[in-house]
Symmetry: C2
Subunit: 630 residues, 2 copies
């Protein structure tokens, strides 16, 4: 086995296990994920029978029957607990993980097949409905779980089972005679196989991933042939672009269909583009990136604006109150951004990655770690709340596997360069390309303050380029080395300092972090004439909990000064924004539905904004991100 | 027969036949209605078989079968043509009208029953589904047609048939043993019977109207009993408030359900309230008025915001792009307002009447008179257009009967007073309460200009009070008698001048008519932070046809000066509003979905607004009434 990434790709992410996050923002959330979310999700999986389903003792007539995607829920929890265990060893949890992974492996069939639903509920249904049955999707999540479990514990129980399962899948699917020329309606297996290939270096794994990707959308369409073979009556219920199966992947140019599926596909495409060094695929990824992030993304990094089909719709169609913006889709956007970022370390990707991470993803989980958003709207009348669980539990399980790995999005390495993408108080231990150990210590109160002090401690003086991301939101910054101001070359959103670094060298980066009011592209009719508040990477929102008048009736004075103030007692300690907004005098409206502007008499009203990611942690009430101009 | 109105009610409207409209705004529309709309509607009714259906020669299996509400379409056209004929005699049309009314009368059954569908299609279905079958609704429209036909021509063919039909209905419905205790799911018969009563003075007609009104919503609910009797399976499909049948009428306090039905009911309630001089009913009308007009009405006078159920929803729920605001509902609101206005001549009612008439009703018909809106949204992406006809043709037929009668909304009389509600160049001939003839000539360019000169020519000097409406939109006015400035007592929105009027006395009223930007109640979230343009009674809108940049991307600078300018070549001659609005520089947005406000660089862009009632008469494109503040 080998790690092909560093040699083949320009940049390689530093694994999360090498970054010890010690800040006041993420570290408590990672701890809550460990102490509350992972146990809560386990409790739900256990109580709902999703774990015990792997015993294969379900009998027809018993309710609930193991659902087609239960395997993936358990797998994502296994992945999350594995990642967390890698950061924070715990013998008791290691044992539980051992038991669950053994149980999963025990469900494997003699031919290598491993899927609960199609073993006990529909044993004759295997591979007969790739479009809807999530079979390869579940396989992909089991594979990601196996890889995480192996990396965290060195144990091969689950990995060996999945290697056999992958072998079985390889024997079923492909272009060779006698094989099914299918692919999954919900992408996931592709990115999982590419992860596996990076571990094993086994060309068969790359080939299988490539097959699934390349076959997608080819004519004659597999889903249509498969539906006909099943004798499915009537017209096609769902258009092929819902599954991103309307065109071969190189011909895609618009982010389309079910947003989570799209993001997992694009992530795998980006992986394959680099493994295969394929310019046509790189170009397709570029088009899809621009479609998704320049025309179809919420300010929070949420994607997929419509609940109907959980999908992408049209350019600039970004309604706020009905925004779907599924947590999983924002997580998928982070995956896609992170892959593209490794190609040439372009800050555009890191900007979106950070936007989604700090806003539309983190909003997915409550401060107490026990309630989760599936949808992440940007406006609410007060009736949208996190829930403890969902029948379709993809979002909670995606969050518990993402949070332990946040540190893994902070750094990348290439020959002769270390890139810093995210700022967060932490200590990273890594080896430079020549093998020399290096410790990087970040001291910062980011995202509350914009000043960062990095202390570099190579084992010996070492020449390399330090690439420091200057976030897209930042318009003024200062840089110093050992307290001496320096000018740095700017390349694709990164300040680049090339020198021979001495142990203990300190770099300070001061990112000006004023409160900004932000506009959306005028094509976004839902936001036209409105402003949103942002400071640093954080999008802010107004909640009724902080206001006397409903936030649905507060306008923003464009030139109003809003002051950031850290309140250690608010929502675990946050920088809130304080100032005055505008409302109209309610007395004027007692007997009027419409009034001349000059008669409505605006008046000032206190305004307080909190980070969007923390909304709905207090009393229910209206919430707004985009406010009209006063 | 008698006309009870003047003696029993405080104010009596002057019939439209006594007001000769000679202005440049309404007169051409009335002429187009005569020359284009009435023939176009006739052509549709004829071509679609709706007129010939009265031959009763339909045989099962032939398509289309006469629909349950076809009778009403023909009836409303008969009413419209009758009213127009009363203004503008035309032997050829009188003959056509004679033929159609004879044909209708010929369809009457020996027992007096008169309904095509339930005579030829469902002969066993008579009165078995009052909730849905529109049977009494059709009877009401036939009755209104008969009254109009009689008033216009003196011919009794249709009126006699309808008197027999009313007698038959009276024998079927009521609280007496053996009668059905039902009422119609779509109100209309009630107001028609009250109109009939005002002509005949026959207490039986008043009693029947009163029965239908009072029985509505009583327990046990007739619609539920009737549905059970029909053996209708399953739960109730539609809530009772859709039919305004959830409560007895005196207990209603919110405008609810299907908006046209609600308006027709409230109109009849207002009629009955005055006939019966019933304070509880007056109070109910007052509550319903406030609910409808202070919390549930568009700026254009449109009501019923939801396409789902064509109905009222909740307070302040007034979405612009999905606004239903059915033309018929705005017409119904005019009826309701006009009835309440006669009670004590309160300008609040006239303000809403004028608002609906000049905006949300007139928008219903194209300038060429041949295309009609059913829905009247306040924002469009460019895909909403008038159509030549609808299967459910209530709106075109309602427009053709309203337009000839516009002059009838201008004046009311009471003992010792003449009230002027609407300003439009015209000549009215009337008799004062003592029988003295009076001619009132209005010279004005209203609604384009706010100055009005009234010349009063009584046959002899006469003392009475002239009540001149000071519209709610007007904040400054001047009044003169024979060119001498006078002060007038102000009462409920009217300037009152009591004196002995000499033949030829001239009153000039100068209403300041600046361009106003209007705000909506802050509870209307769809308009929050937005402004609309109004000048005089006219609501304005922006259309793409007048702009280089899409009007969906133009914001209004709150203090921008907009200049009214009459363009004789635009849309038949209109005062448009010209000025500059604000857009953002598109170059800034080529590679950005979100930008700090200070970077988006607004720039000025020419802005031109046209009266809302005239939108969609040119090239298709986006339209906006409410614009965000720049």
């Amino acid at each position: 086995m080998r790690d092909s990434l560093r040699s083949r790709f320009h940049f390689t992410p530093l694994p999360f296990t090498q970054v010890k996050v010690e800040d006041d923002f993420w570290a408590p959330r990672i701890a809550v994920n460990r102490e509350r979310s992972l146990p809560a999700v386990y409790h739900q999986l256990k109580a709902g029978g999703r774990i015990d389903a792997f015993r294969l003792d379900w009998t027809p007539g018993t309710e609930p029957a193991p659902h087609i995607f239960w395997d993936s829920d358990v797998a994502k929890w296994v992945e999350g607990l594995s990642c967390d265990l890698a950061l924070h060893p715990d013998p008791e949890r290691a044992q539980l993980l051992g038991e669950v992974t053994s149980l999963i492996a025990s469900a494997q069939q003699p031919d290598g097949y491993l899927n609960v639903h199609f073993t006990v509920v529909e044993p004759k249904g295997r591979w007969s409905n790739l479009r809807d049955a999530h079979e390869l999707y579940c396989a992909g999540h089991l594979l990601e779980a196996a890889l995480a479990h192996f990396r965290a514990t060195g144990k091969r129980t689950l990995l060996e089972a999945l290697l056999r399962y992958v072998g079985h899948i390889d024997s079923v699917f492909g272009r060779e005679p006698g094989k099914k020329r299918g692919y999954c309606g919900h992408e996931e297996i592709e990115l999982a196989l590419l992860k596996l290939y990076r571990l094993t270096g086994d060309a068969a794994h790359l080939r299988l991933a490539q097959y699934f990707l390349e076959e997608r959308g080819q004519e004659p369409n597999y889903f249509l042939r498969e539906a006909a073979a099943r004798g499915e009556a009537g017209p096609v219920r769902v258009p092929l672009d819902y599954y991103q199966a309307h065109l071969p992947i190189r011909e895609h140019s618009e982010a389309t269909g079910h947003a989570v599926r799209a993001m997992y596909l694009y992530t795998a495409m980006a992986d394959l583009a680099r493994e295969a060094n394929d310019p046509a695929l790189v170009a397709a990824c570029g088009r899809l990136w621009e479609s998704a992030t320049l025309r179809r993304m919420y300010l929070t990094g949420g994607v997929g604006s419509s609940a109907h089909g959980e999908r992408f719709t049209a350019d600039y169609d970004l309604p706020n109150d009905t925004a779907y913006a599924e947590t999983c889709a924002a997580i998928g956007l982070i995956f896609f951004a992170h892959r593209l970022l490794q190609r040439n370390c372009d800050g555009r990707y890191a900007d979106v990655m950070e936007r989604a991470l700090y806003n539309g993803v983190l909003s997915g989980v409550s401060l107490d770690g026990e309630r989760f958003f599936y949808e992440n709207p940007l406006a609410s009348n007060g009736s949208h709340h996190r829930q403890g669980w969902y029948n379709c539990a993809c979002c909670p399980t995606n969050l518990v596997r993402l949070l332990p790995t946040v540190g893994g999005y902070a750094y990348s390495l290439s020959d002769g360069a270390l890139a810093v993408h995210l700022y967060l108080q932490s200590e990273a231990r890594l080896s430079l390309s020549d093998g020399l150990p290096l410790t990087v210590r970040q001291e910062t109160r980011y995202p509350w303050e914009g000043s960062v002090r990095l202390t570099l401690t190579p084992a010996a003086p070492a020449e390399f380029t330090l690439r420091l991301r200057i976030p897209g939101w930042c318009r003024r910054y200062a840089l110093a080395v050992n307290d001496t101001s320096v000018k740095a070359r700017r390349q694709r959103g990164y300040a680049c300092l090339t020198r021979t670094w001495q142990p203990g060298d300190a770099v300070t980066l001061d990112l000006a972090m004023p409160v900004e009011s932000v506009e959306a592209h005028p094509g976004v009719r839902h936001d036209f004439g409105r402003l949103a508040l942002q400071r640093g990477p954080l999008v802010y929102c107004l909640e009724d909990a902080d206001h006397v008048v409903s936030v649905a009736q507060i306008a923003l004075r464009p030139n109003a000064k809003l002051s950031p103030r850290f309140d250690p007692n608010l929502l675990g300690g946050v920088v809130m924004l304080e100032g005055v907004g505008q409302e109209t005098d309610p007395a004027r409206w007692e007997k009027a539905l419409y009034l001349p502007r000059t008669r409505s008499r605006p008046r000032l009203t206190p305004l307080r904004a909190i980070p969007y990611c923390l909304w709905d942690n207090r009393a229910p009430g209206a919430m707004r991100v985009w406010l009209p101009r006063a």
